[in-house]
Symmetry: C2
Subunit: 146 residues, 2 copies
C-alpha cells in the first residue's frame, strides 16, 4: 500500500492534485489507515498514470473520465475511445494552426521594428491597428485564444 506521497511520486502527480482528483470523482475515495491517511494500491497507481498521460496529451478531465470508464469495459467496441481521441486530435490541429498564425504575425511585427522610440515602433503600431495585419487571426468562438 502506498501513501499519497509515494503514489504521487510514482505517478508523477502532485499530492494536492491527487486529492483534487478524488474530490471530483476521477479517483475513487481511498482506503484510510488507522490514522485517517489515504492508502492506495496498484490499481489506483495505474489509474492515476492513465490520467496523467491523458492530461499530457491534452485531454480534458471530462474526456478522461469517459476514457477511464471505457477502459473498465474491455469487451465493448473501442469506437467511442476513437471518437474522443479524434476529437482531441482535431482540437490540437486547430490550436496549432492558430498558433502558427500568431507566430507569423509576431515575427512580422518584430522584424519590422526599427528599435527606435515608441512613436515609430511597429510593434505598438500593429497592436493598435488591426488593419496592419496580414491575417485575420480572429477565430472567435474557437475556445481560448491561446
Amino acid at each position: 500500500m502506498l501513501t499519497i506521497g509515494k503514489l504521487g511520486e510514482a505517478a508523477g502527480v502532485k499530492v494536492p492534485t491527487i486529492r483534487y482528483y478524488e474530490q471530483i470523482g476521477l479517483l475513487p475515495a481511498a482506503e484510510r489507515s488507522a490514522g485517517n491517511q489515504r492508502l492506495y494500491g496498484r490499481d489506483t497507481l495505474n489509474r492515476l498514470r492513465f490520467i496523467r498521460h491523458s492530461r499530457e496529451l491534452g485531454f480534458a478531465l471530462d474526456d478522461i473520465r469517459e476514457l477511464l470508464s471505457l477502459s473498465d469495459t474491455p469487451d465493448q467496441p473501442c469506437a467511442a475511445a476513437d471518437v474522443i481521441a479524434r476529437r482531441q486530435l482535431a482540437y490540437v490541429n486547430r490550436r496549432i494552426s492558430r498558433l502558427n498564425a500568431l507566430r507569423e504575425e509576431l515575427t512580422r511585427m518584430l522584424d519590422q521594428c526599427s528599435a527606435g522610440t515608441i512613436a515609430n515602433c511597429h510593434v505598438i503600431e500593429v497592436l493598435g491597428n488591426h488593419d496592419l495585419c496580414a491575417h485575420d487571426h480572429d477565430m472567435a468562438g474557437e475556445g481560448p485564444l491561446i
Copy 2:
C-alpha cells in the same frame, strides 16, 4: 459618445468583458450619463481595440497593461515593447512544438487502432502505459498542458 454596447460592437468585445477590463484597471473608469450609464469616446475605443488585438495575439492582460502604458509614452525607446513581444513569440514557439508532439502521438495512437474492442484498443493501451510512447511529452513546468 458611445454606450457600452456600441463600444463593444465597434471593438469586437463583449459588454461584460469591457466592464471586467474596467474593474481590473485595464480601462479607465468611464464617464457616466445622467442615468449612470457608461459613456465612451474615441480614445477608449482605440484603447479597447489595442487590447483586443493584443489578446488575439495571445498576450496576457498584464503584458497588455505594460504595452498600453508604453504606448502612452511615445518618446521612450521601444526596447521594452520589443522584449515583451519577443517573450510572447518564444512562448508561442514553445506551445507550437509541444502541440506538434501531441499531434504526432495522437496520430500514432489512432493509426494503430484496429477498431476492435477496448481490450485490444491501442488508444486505451497507450494512455495507460506511457512506455508505449515514442516521445517524452512531459514538459513539466512549461505552463498549462494545452
